[in-house]
């Protein structure tokens, strides 16, 4: 499907391995198995409607379950929902839930909980990703195991969304004020013990868990008893903790990966099908980036391949498309035709046309969000831009701030300050992301045109895969030609894991969902 080497463990487990796993399980049931996973940052909220960060999503995955589940290739299939039917016009879906799903508080999970979740996402304080649920107008509970969802218009990304963590199913017993900060009741493989803000999310295994559709071997409760998800911001500290065994799984410092591999003390895993896309986004509402030539100049002047080689050393790939590898519509060859190959001379020519030159550099600011060495990437880009006469300051901020600032920049059309551009990142399972980003008003109030709106509309309402591919690629072509959304690389954040040797069965599902169902810790740690 693509040219990256598969580093994930193979799906079909060898009988021998399974045996080892069960033996180990038997041997260690006496002492509780605990796994520590260290990450650079903390979750924002336990409430899937209150945050968008990958860090949060990965924790929701453990506590909540979704109606549908992606297989390893990223296609949605049954999970909590055993089956579903769509009406002829594609505006009504009827789902049937599996029987016997239990919430962590012991109450049964039924259609009312689904209605609770969806109503909540559209309620007074709606989900931050409300649009991604699609044009839902109503949810009706038919019987405890059956419910109907009504859409205002056809929505091609509806089913994939139900496999995504943003659609995590919340039990309707989550009515307390504390939901999201100290309590969270779901149906997922782990239940919440405690969230010590800034430091640790402590989870215990949910003994009642049944795996209906997640693509892992284990069909029941996790093997490990406790999962501790710890915040350790310093990469060096994480590495040291990995070495001493205080931590089992963590993202290592990129510059140490070679040495780790050589020493063979830890296993390095690189996730695939992350759906992650890192791209240039511009304040097109004012100068200089209201001029396509300025946007193109930036694209020609930067060399993502060189930058990622220096910073990530082959751990990631040049991405030509506005949607990531593994996502419907991604085709490197197709995208590259409209892409911008590194060509500083062209950039200079474009700038000269606009009246910029060595004595009159184009001044602007590049936003980039913290972590994952992105600021270093930005420094390289900054230096490349300087060579063609673009004087770009770099501002580093966290992702939430960057989202807000980018939006504010786009909406501020009257400022005398030069417009900014940014290294934006999104992880999505479907090209519907393009609708959310660029259909007016758009997530960032960025580039908009009626033409593009119409094209995006069609990507939503076209359900047939071949026809939809055509529509999606038309949008891709438009975005690339107009230099609105210029792909840089993929994947881009939290996709590299260093794993201690005693940890067996750690897998990362598509769209960067680490999973612990099959995990065992061989020696006491």
């Amino acid at each position: 499907m693509d040219d990256t080497r598969r580093r994930l463990r193979g799906l079909p487990a060898l009988p021998g391995l399974a045996l080892t796993a069960s033996l180990t399980l038997g041997a260690t049931t006496a002492s509780a198995q605990e796994l520590v996973w260290a990450r650079y940052g903390d979750i924002d909220s336990l409430d899937p409607h209150r945050a968008t960060s990958t860090l949060s999503m990965q924790v929701w995955d453990q506590i909540y379950d979704t109606l549908l589940a992606f297989d390893m290739e990223g296609n949605p299939g049954p999970n909590m929902a055993a089956s579903w039917e769509a009406s002829e016009d594609g505006l009504e879906y009827t789902f049937t839930l599996n029987e016997g799903i239990m919430c962590h508080d012991g109450t049964p999970f039924d259609a009312n909980d689904v209605k609770f979740t969806i109503d909540r996402a559209f309620g007074d304080t709606p989900s931050l990703t409300k649009t991604s649920w699609g044009p839902i107008t109503d949810v009706t509970v038919v019987d405890p195991l059956t419910f109907k969802v009504t859409l205002a218009s056809k929505f091609g990304a509806f089913l994939p969304f139900l496999a995504d963590s943003f659609s995590s199913m919340i039990c309707d017993s989550n009515t307390a004020e504390t939901f999201g900060s100290t309590t969270a009741i779901g149906t997922g493989p782990f239940s919440l013990d405690e969230w010590v803000k800034g430091s640790e999310v402590a989870l215990s295994k949910n003994p009642d868990y049944v795996n209906y559709g997640e693509p892992y071997d284990n069909e029941g409760a996790p093997h490990i008893d406790r999962l501790l998800i710890r915040t350790v911001p310093e990469a060096q500290t994480r590495l040291a903790a990995l070495r001493t065994g205080e931590v089992h799984i963590a993202e290592p410092p990129f510059d140490d990966i070679e040495a780790i591999k050589e020493a063979g003390e830890l296993e390095i895993m690189v996730a695939e099908n992350t759906g992650q896309d890192v791209f240039w986004e511009f304040t097109t509402s004012r100068a200089p980036f209201d001029d396509i030539r300025a946007r193109q100049a930036v694209a020609y002047a930067t060399d993502p391949q060189m930058a990622i080689d220096i910073i990530y050393g082959g751990l990631t790939n040049r991405e030509w498309c506005p949607v990531a590898r593994g996502v419907f519509g991604n085709d490197q060859e197709f995208c590259k035709q409209y892409g911008y190959e590194y060509d500083p001379e062209k950039a200079k020519a474009l700038l000269a046309e606009m009246g910029y030159g060595p004595d009159n550099p184009l001044e602007t600011t590049m936003f980039v969000w913290t972590g994952g060495n992105r600021h270093k990437l930005a420094e390289i880009f900054q230096s490349q831009l300087a060579q063609v006469g673009i004087d770009a300051g770099v501002e580093i901020m966290d992702i939430g701030t960057m989202n807000a600032r980018v939006k504010a920049q786009n909406e501020d059309t009257t400022s005398d300050e030069p417009g900014t551009f940014d290294m934006m990142t999104w992880s999505w399972y479907d090209p519907d992301i393009l609708y959310q980003l660029w259909h007016s008003p758009g997530a960032y109030s960025g580039y908009q045109s009626p033409e593009l709106d119409a094209m995006l509309e069609e990507t939503r309402t076209t359900i047939d895969p071949d026809a939809r591919l055509e529509k999606v690629q038309a949008v891709i072509k438009y975005l690339m030609e107009n230099a609105v959304h210029i792909g840089l690389y993929s994947p881009g954040w939290e996709w590299v894991f260093a794993v201690r040797p005693e940890v067996e069965g750690f897998k990362v599902g598509p769209f960067l969902h680490p999973n612990f169902l099959d995990v065992t810790v061989v020696s006491g740690g």
């Binding site: 803000k197 350790v232 310093e234 001493t244 966290d398 600032r405």
Partner: protein, 306 residues
């Protein structure tokens, strides 16, 4: 004495009161629309922003806002953080024990190391012990906390692997506390030295010597106890410095206290959290200085008996 304590408490209240005004003004000094900066993230509509504005009372005149703020404050409501949408007070309180543990243990280190060094230097004034101690102290004062932290981390955790680097137990407190403690010990050593030198020059020390008392009695009963008075009076400020220093050190060692929270809040422009932090910080420092002033009063009879 009672009057003195009341006076100090009143001063602390004034500090906290001014802090409440400062944080209310703060949000109005932010250029641009604070609501948009705070809540204008992914997919919020203008209507939703307006609703938030009304909910936060930001559509009211500033003095109404202030009264509203005070009203919520007395109910223990410091607002909700933007990132994660949680009650600010809860967030601060869950993080504070870590900071308290760090600052108190650093203060202990600073007092033990700094005061002994300063006392020794003053006593051995003019000798190489004094010179050595003061060179050490000025180097300590000049050393950036965070660099000292990195050096200690590099040496003890990464090279020697003596100490753990992650986790929240007492062993992982050692390095940050040592860093912060030593950095402040240097300041305290200088303060103690000059206070003790002043004391050694006092007439009453001459009196004590003229009485033919053993050196230890002159030093500990007469000099040290008197010298402690000015030094302890400065501890309130030292504690404030430690709290400030903790902001940086917590970030070096990923120590999960309010200091790290504060930096996260500034970087993410989480204004309710920033406001809460400033108020909280001011309150803690003000109350700590009351405690230290009372300790000071117990050392100095001129205050105790007036």
């Amino acid at each position: 004495m009672g009057k003195f304590i009341l006076q100090r408490l009143f001063a602390a209240l004034v500090t906290i009161w001014i802090a409440t005004i400062a944080v209310t003004i703060l949000i109005h000094l932010v250029p641009g629309d604070p609501v948009r900066i705070m809540y204008g993230s992914f997919q919020t509509t203008p209507e939703e922003l307006e609703a938030i504005r009304v909910r936060l009372g930001l559509d009211q005149p500033i003095w109404t806002q202030y009264l509203m703020y005070l009203e919520r404050l007395v109910q223990g409501d410091l607002g909700r953080s933007i990132v994660g949408d949680q009650p600010v007070l809860d967030v601060l309180l869950t993080r504070f024990p870590a900071t308290l543990a760090l600052t108190v243990s650093s203060l202990a280190i600073a007092i033990v190391v700094g005061m002994s060094l300063g006392f020794l230097a003053a006593y051995k004034r003019g000798t190489w012990v004094d010179v050595g101690a003061m060179v050490l102290a000025i180097v300590g004062v000049s050393m950036p906390h965070f660099w000292l932290g990195l050096l200690l981390l590099f040496l003890f955790a990464l090279q020697l692997q003596w100490l753990p680097v992650a986790g929240g137990d007492w062993r992982s407190l050692l390095l940050p506390a040592l860093t912060l403690g030593l950095a402040n010990a240097a300041v305290l050593a200088r303060l103690t030295r000059s206070a003790m030198i002043d004391i050694f020059d006092q007439d009453f020390i001459r009196t004590a010597r003229a009485k033919g008392l053993p050196r230890s009695i002159v030093l500990y009963r007469h000099a040290l106890r008197s010298g402690l008075v000015p030094v302890v009076s400065m501890l309130g400020l030292q504690f404030a410095y430690l709290m400030g220093g903790a902001i940086v050190i917590e970030n070096v060692f990923a120590w999960n206290g309010v200091g790290r929270l504060a930096i996260e809040a500034v970087l993410s422009r989480d204004y309710p959290l920033i406001q809460g932090f400033i108020l909280f910080f001011a309150t803690v420092v003000a109350l700590a200085s009351v405690v230290i002033d009372i300790a000071y009063a117990f050392l100095d009879p001129r205050i105790r008996y007036s």
